[in-house]
């Protein structure tokens, strides 16, 4: 499953650690603005993936994170989400099969989204394809996902 939040709504966005053992993870929970939290939505099993690649020239390399998810259905609320995401930048969280959660995007380099609809044919897939691109690796987010609006 995948989850979306907007950086502008986050009152306290946490960074990854600074040592070799902690740089690959964020261990402190993000703090959201009042009434805000992560939003969850469903994505079809085995129809999504993400990867990180190394880009840039020698002595100046960086990481680029990209991914795809497919959300089934043809719905007004997903049309609305599509319009919002196509005009927004933010963070996205993905949960892997063993419960590991990764954060895609950061305050400096948020995810840029594209979400498009396809009807498919009678034997195909009807739904939305969400893709994202951001610079930087996708650290593991150990605090877990928060679907509870901040008080």
């Amino acid at each position: 499953m995948s989850y979306f939040t907007t950086i502008q709504k986050a009152a306290g966005l946490q960074d990854a650690g600074a040592t070799i053992s902690t740089i690959g993870q964020i261990a402190t929970p993000h703090v959201f603005a009042t009434t805000k939290c992560m939003k969850k939505f469903y994505a079809t099993e085995n129809k999504g993936e993400h990867k990180t690649e190394i880009v840039g020239d020698p002595d100046s390399q960086g990481a680029k994170d990209t991914g795809t998810l497919m959300v089934p259905g043809s719905r007004a609320d997903l049309n609305g989400m599509s319009r919002l995401l196509n005009c927004s930048v933010g963070l996205l969280f993905t949960q892997e099969a063993d419960g590991t959660i990764r954060q895609h995007g950061s305050e400096a380099f948020p995810c840029h989204f594209k979400m498009v609809y396809g009807s498919g044919n009678n034997e195909g897939y009807r739904g939305y394809t969400l893709t994202w691109v951001c610079y930087g690796p996708a650290p593991i987010y150990t605090p877990g996902l928060n679907f509870t609006p901040a008080p």
């Binding site: 949960q95 150990t142 877990g144 509870t148």
Partner: protein, 78 residues
């Protein structure tokens, strides 16, 4: 009608409180779906031991520091 505000179960509210800035509701942690308003003491202990950051142990209450001092020096009569 607005939703009733969720609170921690009485059985764990003495021992734990929610992390500052966070509410009582649904979290997903290490493959578990956690609903804080329905947590048992055993679940709470298990999650906190596993590193669940949204539940914080409360400080144990201590006895009052200001208590009557016995055997205070008495002023001798003139």
């Amino acid at each position: 009608m607005p939703d009733k505000k969720k609170i921690l179960p009485a059985a764990i509210a003495d021992q734990y409180q929610v992390l500052d800035g966070h509410g009582v509701g649904e979290y997903h942690f290490a493959g578990h779906v956690v609903n804080l308003d329905r947590l048992t003491p055993e679940d709470a202990d298990f999650l906190v031991k596993k590193g669940f950051p949204y539940l914080v142990a409360k400080e144990p209450k201590t006895k009052a520091k200001n208590s009557t001092v016995l055997g205070a020096a008495q002023k001798s009569p003139d």
